[in-house]
């Protein structure tokens, strides 16, 4: 079920109305669980089974860690994490292993290749791991997160994993952030304005920017790029960079706004990432919930930067490769992760050795370099076949004498303007001009609402649904 579908609007309205009926206040969490399961099962009822299985594993292991009598808490925690990862490996990476290591005619190969990919599996698996690890790490925290009553804990955990705003494409919630919020919510406490702004901005980025850009960046695909001018190929990449940001940041904003309407706070998932002047900064601004998860639950346990320089570089690269693979079951994602890991490692090596001065020109150059590198790496998301990726860059290098398609270039640039403005408003947020825009912010929001209704592109799934 897409956020920009009428089925979702109807489900949301019914859920919202029931949720705030005073007599049903004690059933608020249950109402959201039912709505979330309807949301998830809308396209394929069978896959709810996997969601419930994941919840059961996490409920059982986390409860046993906190209240169980067994001293083998570490083993229980490890078992919970391994089962979560095994389910992810089977459903998400089964087809990749099947294609890479088995004959497609072989019964095992065929079984693996035909594994369905449950939508949102990467997200709810990581959330389950977060719960298990959080309760294992701290006794006090464990008792704050895990209710004494197994029934209450089961309800809260199922709610944590399945809550529909974040269920299928994040943000990835951490147990220690979410569980303390679970409780009765009141209509009078709704933060209407901040919810409204997040939802409008989210739908605008998704429906007006991303859904329109996708119909132009279609030409990145093979074999079309072979006969497209170099400048147009670069514009296409720029457009795709804006599209992927708008698609994902848009979804996150909608999720944040919807959660606020039910009284829950999600942390920001994107913080103007394309203004970054270093790769380290980029990963503090892009998909923040994933990067903090990887840092907290993978990079630090590997040793972080505490075991010497080379081990630090290794940890960075390995974390990013696994982060890349999380995005998709194709080797191109691992390469994408490696490219970012390598950039982080090299940047760390350089900044350890050389102090680079900071001024406007140097920062702008660094920012341009980071943006260009990040944009170039996005090709691996669009073209999973490495030969096509190489072909794309070869075409950029040689197609200088092919005529530029002005229509395509201008369309991409027009639909990328909102992303450019969005980042510049943040860059110049202290300026008088931006302050005066803030005073009449209802005007840009009115323009966004108007364009959502009159300028939406053809419906496309959120890019991150495939993860």
């Amino acid at each position: 079920m897409l956020f920009n579908s009428f089925s979702f609007v109807y489900l949301f309205l019914v859920t919202f109305l029931l949720y705030y009926i005073p007599r049903l206040a004690k059933l608020q969490v249950s109402i959201l669980i039912v709505a979330s399961l309807i949301f998830y099962s809308f396209d394929n009822v069978a896959l709810v089974g996997l969601l419930l299985f994941s919840a059961t594993v996490n409920i059982t292991t986390s409860y046993l860690i906190v209240y169980g009598k067994s001293p083998a808490k570490k083993t229980i925690a490890l078992t919970g994490v391994v089962i979560n990862l095994a389910a992810l490996a089977l459903f998400k990476y089964g087809p990749l292993f099947g294609k890479t290591f088995f004959d497609p005619d072989d019964s095992i190969g065929e079984l693996l290749i035909k594994m369905p990919l449950p939508i949102g599996i990467s997200f709810f698996t990581f959330e389950g791991i977060s719960l298990v690890v959080d309760v294992w790490r701290g006794k006090e925290l464990g008792r704050k997160i895990v209710a004494l009553s197994i029934f209450d804990h089961a309800k809260n955990t199922l709610f944590f994993i399945s809550f529909f705003p974040h269920l299928v494409a994040g943000p990835i919630l951490k147990a220690h952030d979410f569980f303390p919020q679970v409780g009765t919510k009141y209509f009078k406490d709704i933060q209407w304005e901040s919810a409204f702004k997040a939802i409008v901005a989210g739908y605008f980025l998704k429906m007006v920017v991303a859904d329109n850009l996708k119909d132009f960046t279609f030409w990145i695909e093979y074999p079309y790029f072979e006969t497209i001018a170099s400048a147009t190929l670069i514009t296409l990449l720029f457009g795709y960079s804006c599209q992927i940001f708008a698609d994902f940041a848009g979804y996150s904003l909608i999720a944040i706004g919807l959660a606020r309407l039910f009284g829950y706070q999600f942390n920001a998932n994107f913080n103007f990432p394309y203004i970054s002047t270093s790769f380290k900064e980029f990963w503090k601004r892009w998909h923040i919930s994933l990067s903090t998860f990887l840092m907290e639950y993978l990079y630090y346990p590997l040793g972080g930067n505490r075991k010497g320089k080379f081990r630090t570089y290794f940890n960075l690269i390995l974390t990013m490769i696994l982060g890349g693979l999380w995005h998709g079951a194709a080797w191109s994602y691992a390469v994408w992760g490696f490219a970012h890991g390598l950039a982080l490692a090299v940047e760390r090596f350089i900044t350890d050795k050389i102090q680079i001065r900071s001024n406007v020109i140097i920062n702008a150059t660094k920012g341009l370099f980071v943006f260009s590198y990040v944009t170039a790496a996005w090709v691996l998301f669009k073209l999973p076949d490495f030969s096509h990726v190489a072909g794309y860059f070869q075409s950029i290098a040689r197609n200088f004498d092919i005529g530029i398609d002005r229509s395509l270039n201008i369309s991409i640039l027009v639909y990328s303007i909102p992303v450019i403005i969005y980042h510049h408003l943040y860059l110049y947020r202290e300026s008088r001009a931006v302050q005066s825009i803030r005073r009449v912010q209802y005007i840009p929001y009115a323009v966004m609402v108007f364009l959502i209704l009159t300028n939406s592109g053809s419906t496309g799934s959120f890019i991150y649904f495939q993860f």
Partner: protein, 284 residues
């Protein structure tokens, strides 16, 4: 803030609706193939009068331009003839004749395309408010004006992305990719399924008094008789025997130029359109 936003947005909507309906009701800006698909579909489903002759097909047929008000091209890029047929059958009054492209018989239907067009309350809104239909996007107008200005500034014709005289072999690679695709025999179960699906639609059209005529677009001569098109032709003749159904003969592929192996160039599409028009008018 929320109230001010919604009131101002409503004002913008009214102004936009008035501007479109009073100043430029027939004017539309189409920037890519999906917009073209939706605009064609909307014109068809919202028109009060059903055209006498309707073409259904894929992007191959989208290039057909027949200068005759009695002909309507309901072909969709990226979709199949079955999607066009589904739209036609939703009308109360059907056309007298439907011309069905058969080149891409194995392509999957996309029910989401027609579902999105029929989804209420948007269908009602689009039917009655012209400014909500495809081709009236404010940002596309802005892009169109920017393009017009830059074209005037640089005083050169805009160039299509597909270059005619490619000396680097890029076009050859595209044709080679098509050749590879056309050399793979389709799954027998799939092609039978599609043919039966087509038969279901054709039977319904005939039951409701519509004549159905099949045609196959010419493609690059190296692709014309490969296993895929041959198998489709065979399946079509088995499901719709030529002695019981009307076929417009496919012209000799060697006499036609394509831009990428499958799509006719603009000049060739014009030539083929005349050919198709003559046969369509003659067939009874």
């Amino acid at each position: 803030m929320i109230k001010k936003t919604l009131i101002l947005a409503a004002l913008f909507l009214v102004m936009h609706a008035l501007l479109i309906s009073e100043l430029a009701p027939a004017y539309e800006i189409i920037r890519h193939q999906w917009q073209y698909n939706r605009a064609a579909a909307e014109k068809f489903i919202y028109s009060e009068r059903t055209p006498n002759n309707v073409l259904v097909g894929s992007s191959l047929s989208q290039r057909i331009k027949i200068e005759d008000q009695e002909f309507f091209n309901l072909s969709f890029s990226g979709l199949s003839s079955l999607d066009g047929l589904r739209l036609i059958l939703q009308r109360e009054t059907l056309p007298k004749k439907v011309l069905v492209e058969t080149n891409l018989l194995t392509r999957e239907e996309d029910p989401r395309f027609t579902e999105a067009l029929e989804e209420q309350p948007l269908r009602f809104a689009r039917e009655h408010v012209l400014s909500l239909r495809e081709g009236r996007h404010p940002m596309d107008w802005f892009a169109y004006l920017a393009e017009k200005y830059t074209n005037a500034l640089f005083a050169t014709k805009p160039v299509s992305s597909f270059v005619k005289n490619d000396t680097r072999g890029g076009l050859e690679k595209i044709v080679a990719a098509e050749k590879a695709r056309h050399s793979i025999a389709p799954d027998p179960q799939l092609i039978t399924e599609k043919a039966l699906r087509l038969k279901q639609y054709v039977n319904e059209l005939k039951d409701r008094g519509t004549e159905v005529v099949f045609y196959e677009m010419p493609v690059n001569e190296d692709l014309c008789d490969l296993i895929l098109p041959k198998t489709i032709r065979q399946q079509m003749h088995e499901t719709f025997p030529p002695d019981q159904y009307t076929y417009i003969p496919q012209p000799d592929c060697s006499g036609y130029q394509t831009s990428d192996g499958v799509h006719l160039t603009a000049d060739e599409a014009e030539r083929y359109s005349k050919y198709l028009h003559e046969y369509a008018r003659a067939s009874r």
